[in-house]
Every structure is written in C-alpha cells, then in structure tokens.
C-alpha cells in the first residue's frame, strides 16, 4: 500500500516536472531575421545599450528592432531598479558588454557615439568608462 502511494506520488512529480519543461517558452532564441540583419551589418550595437540602424531599414526591420529595443528597455528598467541604479547607467553598462560580445563582421557604435565601426578580429573600441 505504502509502495503504491510512493509510486503514484513519483508519477505525479514526474508529470509536474515534464509540464514545467514544456512551459519554458520556445521563443527564447533570436529571431532569424534579427540574426541576419546583425550579420549583414544593417543594424549595430549602440553605446547606450540599444540597437541602431546603420543605413535606412525597411519597415519590417524597423519594426523588429524597435520591438527588441522596447523589450531591452523593460529588462533594463526592471534590473536597474533591483540594483538601485538608474536606467541609463544600467543600459550603458549593458552596451559596453554587448559591444564586447559582437562577432567579427557585426557593426557597433564607436566611443564618440556617432560613428559605426565594423568589428574585426581584435577587441572593439569602447568608451573609456566601460569595464
């Protein structure tokens, strides 16, 4: 009897665990169009922590990037509050890291905040305040 109870509870726990795994959103990956625009150098990482357009984007790319920037802003705002920092400081710090993480061929904004630079195999040029 005891054994049956244990088996049943194990089954329930197993089912719950499986349910949790299924509940993980499948969209936790980059949109392929976003990846393609990065690789093509149409968009780049700005020093303020947001994405910018290197040239003039079409409507679809503009919408995609604006949506990502709105989500970035929400993430920055939430985390900045928790870390007792300003949104701007948190976003700038993230920008430093995001520029460091660009892959060769991708575009990023130079320390002057206006020039677009292409990442090569060396380290990127970053703002003097970056860690």
């Amino acid at each position: 009897m005891n054994r049956t109870v244990k088996t049943v509870s194990r089954l329930i726990i197993g089912a719950a665990a499986a349910g949790l795994m299924l509940a993980v959103p499948a969209s936790a990956q980059r949109d392929p169009a976003y990846d393609a625009a990065r690789a093509a150098g149409q968009i780049g990482e700005q020093i303020d922590g947001y994405l910018g357009f290197v040239g003039s984007p079409d409507a679809a790319l503009r919408a995609l990037v604006e949506d990502i920037n709105i989500k970035r802003r929400a993430a920055y705002a939430e985390k900045a509050k928790a870390a007792n920092a300003t949104l701007k400081d948190y976003a700038f710090t993230s920008g430093c890291l995001l520029i460091a993480r660009t892959k060769p061929g991708e575009m990023y904004q130079g320390p002057d905040g206006s020039t677009w630079l292409k990442r090569d195999s060396g380290p990127p040029q970053r703002h003097p305040s970056c860690p």
Binding site: A75, A85, T93, H127
Partner: protein, 64 residues
C-alpha cells in the same frame, strides 16, 4: 552714526579692491578639447553593474 559711516566706507573700499583684483585670466589649452558623448557615468557604477548586466544578457538571448 559716525561709526556706521566709517563701516560703509570700509566696505566700499573692500568692494572696490575686489573689483580691481577680480579679473580671471583664461588660457586656451594646447590640445584640442574632445567632447565625449554625453555619458556621465563613473567607472565605479559601471563595475558594480557589470556582473548583473551580464546575467541579464545571458538570460534574454532573444533580445540581445
């Protein structure tokens, strides 16, 4: 009354002296002045937030 008059005269003398010696000379620096974009953030703040911001980026691969 006389005392007040003397006090006023003294104050005026002092002010007069200040306006004579109050010139500030400004020399232009030799190197060009480079204005880094309007980022006014201390390295201390950036270093404090770096680990946290790194986690945020790792946790949201769809938007970073």
């Amino acid at each position: 009354m006389e005392r007040i008059g003397a006090g006023l005269a003294g104050a005026m003398l002092l002010l007069g002296g200040m306006s004579v010696s109050g010139c500030i000379s400004v020399n232009a620096p030799d190197e060009p002045i480079v204005i880094e974009l309007n980022i006014n953030i201390s390295q201390e703040v950036v270093y404090r937030l770096a680990a946290d911001a790194g986690n945020t980026i790792e946790d949201n691969p769809d938007i970073f």
